[in-house]
């Protein structure tokens, strides 16, 4: 795959969505400042975490189970509020925006899960359209938007099928299409390849890389050492709720 510099117009995504978006690396999409998260049961999931993700970045979040990866994602979508510290998503301090503004912030974030979270009684097309319907998008704008993202993830032919008829990789691509259909600033992927075999995993990674090239910031939590080491992207390693390593162009494991 050829890596196009972000400034080269018009990118595939621009052509597909009609959006003209040039990443501004000086503009952080995610800022965590001095964040501590203590759950009501007393468990400290995050301790004094600082993390800045500039626009257009591709960040791997690695670390053992329970290190705090999922907690960071929950904080970003404001499923949880930090005990202490500041969480900023695309300029909005999520602790200050108030309940009514939460949906607006969530629409700037596309979320992808290990278990896909597709609705079994809806077709691929309907699953993707669902994200627009429930956010009040007029019907005449839903059809072209869904068709475009399905083309982007390569599922145009599978549009009328139900999730049960799809392979794992196709299901995850459907979930990615759903995450993308809002034209988000950032995609948060929580172990997106955790349920997939290695070949299919690579397909999903390739897709995420392509989306990243189109200007969408990607934050991906993973256990897949092979993928992380091969791609040489930015790696943020967590352990016991602390950031123990934050390197660009690194591998899964510490290399010194």
């Amino acid at each position: 795959m050829t890596v196009a510099p972000p400034s080269t117009p018009p990118s595939l995504f621009d052509r597909l969505t009609g959006r003209r978006h040039v990443p501004r690396p000086e503009h952080p999409v995610v800022v965590l400042h001095d964040v501590t998260m203590r759950y009501p049961n007393g468990k400290e999931a995050l301790k004094d975490v600082d993390l800045v993700v500039p626009e257009g970045d591709f960040v791997f979040l690695v670390g053992p189970s329970g290190a705090g990866k999922s907690t960071i994602m929950k904080l970003l979508i404001r499923d949880e509020l930090a005990t202490r510290g500041v969480v900023i998503v695309d300029g909005d301090d999520v602790a200050r925006i108030g309940r009514r503004a939460v949906p607006r912030v969530r629409r700037k974030i596309g979320i992808v899960f290990q278990d896909f979270k597709l609705l079994p009684r809806k077709t691929v097309w309907e699953n993707v359209a669902f994200a627009l319907e429930v956010t009040g998008t007029p019907r005449h704008r839903i059809r072209p938007a869904v068709d475009r993202v399905l083309a982007l993830v390569g599922l145009t032919a599978q549009a009328p099928q139900y999730p049960a008829q799809l392979s794992g990789g196709e299901q995850q691509r459907t979930a990615i299409a759903r995450a993308l259909v809002h034209d988000p600033r950032i995609i948060i992927a929580d172990e997106p390849t955790g349920n997939l075999d290695p070949v299919i995993s690579w397909e999903i990674i390739q897709l995420l890389l392509r989306i990243n090239e189109l200007g969408v910031t990607i934050l991906m939590a993973t256990h897949d050492a092979e993928v992380v080491t091969a791609l040489r992207k930015r790696v943020v390693a967590l352990e016991d709720g602390r950031v123990i390593r934050d390197e660009t162009g690194a591998g899964y494991h510490r290399e010194d």
Partner: protein, 296 residues
């Protein structure tokens, strides 16, 4: 706004049919509970009518002096009719009293003893029907010989009436309590059933939240769906009631015909109650159930 309402209604309709089994179970529960409620409501009305019937039997009877003139009697009747506690006044003349006595004897198959009488021994009377037996004392007091010279005496039934009132008031309170208890049971069962239907779709709500649906977009489809379940349940329940009302009331016509029961107004009230309860609980149930997913 139009998009929103159209979306909510469409989603409610889809939600109902795509989870047909759950929706039908909820609707069926709704039907049964509404029938239960309607049954108790009708029963309560029959009970009230019966009590009213018993209480109407309470009459104040004042016997008049033989020397009372027609104009004196008319004045007394006029004064009584003007009292707010009184519904009607009947004047029974001496001859009429004798005729009724003979009739009553004949009806019981007894010998007509009046033929051995030389003169009519009976007194003329005014029979006063009351708005409520609780007002017996007022009317009795107004009829005392000290105040109405033409009155000879007033039949004293105070003790009896008090006992009747104790019983009817108790039964009335018990009836209201019974309907209230059934109402609460119906409320909990319906709300719980709808909650089950909502919980079955927790994943869908979760996804809606994650893709940034506002609370209104999550809530209203479920509220409309609850309303649909309620409305459908109420209509089915009313249909069943309408079908069964005729044979039921025919079977009980002997009982009912004694009672001053207006079946028309009871039927209308029942319909209103069933519809309002079905719709109200459907909406309330889904509102409460979805709320647990929204507040975080």
């Amino acid at each position: 706004m139009v998009t929103f309402v159209a979306f909510s209604l469409r989603r409610a309709w889809q939600g109902f049919w795509r989870n047909a089994l759950m929706s039908l179970a909820a609707t069926l529960t709704m039907v049964l509970m509404l029938l239960l409620l309607a049954g108790f409501f009708v029963l309560q009305n029959v009970l009230l009518a019966s009590l009213g019937f018993v209480e109407q039997k309470v009459e104040v009877v004042a016997y008049l002096q033989h020397n009372a003139t027609q104009s004196q009697t008319d004045e007394l009747v006029g004064r009584l009719e003007a009292m707010p506690e009184v519904t009607s006044v009947e004047y029974v003349s001496r001859d009429e009293a004798l005729r009724r006595f003979k009739e009553a004897q004949a009806a019981q198959g007894r010998e007509d003893l009046t033929q051995y009488l030389e003169a009519n021994p009976l007194y003329a009377s005014v029979n006063v029907k009351l708005r409520s037996p609780a007002e017996l004392r007022t009317v009795t007091d107004a009829l005392q010989p000290q105040r109405e010279p033409i009155v000879r005496n007033v039949l004293n039934i105070q003790a009896l009436v008090e006992r009747v009132l104790t019983v009817t008031n108790f039964v009335r309170t018990a009836g209201v309590a019974m309907v209230a208890i059934v109402g609460v049971i119906v409320l909990f069962i319906i709300v719980n059933t709808i909650r089950l239907a909502v919980v079955a779709r927790a994943e869908e709500i979760e996804i809606m939240r994650l893709v940034g649906a506002s609370d209104a977009f999550i809530r209203w489809p479920f509220v409309f769906e609850g309303a649909l379940v309620g409305l459908l349940g109420a209509l089915i329940a009313l249909g069943l009631l309408a079908v069964s009302a005729d044979p039921l009331s025919k079977a009980m016509v002997g009982f009912f015909s004694v009672l001053p029961l207006q079946l028309g107004s009871v039927a209308r009230d029942t319909a209103v109650i069933v519809l309002a309860t079905g719709l109200g609980l459907g909406v309330l149930g889904s509102w409460l159930s979805v709320r647990t997913y929204l507040i975080r």
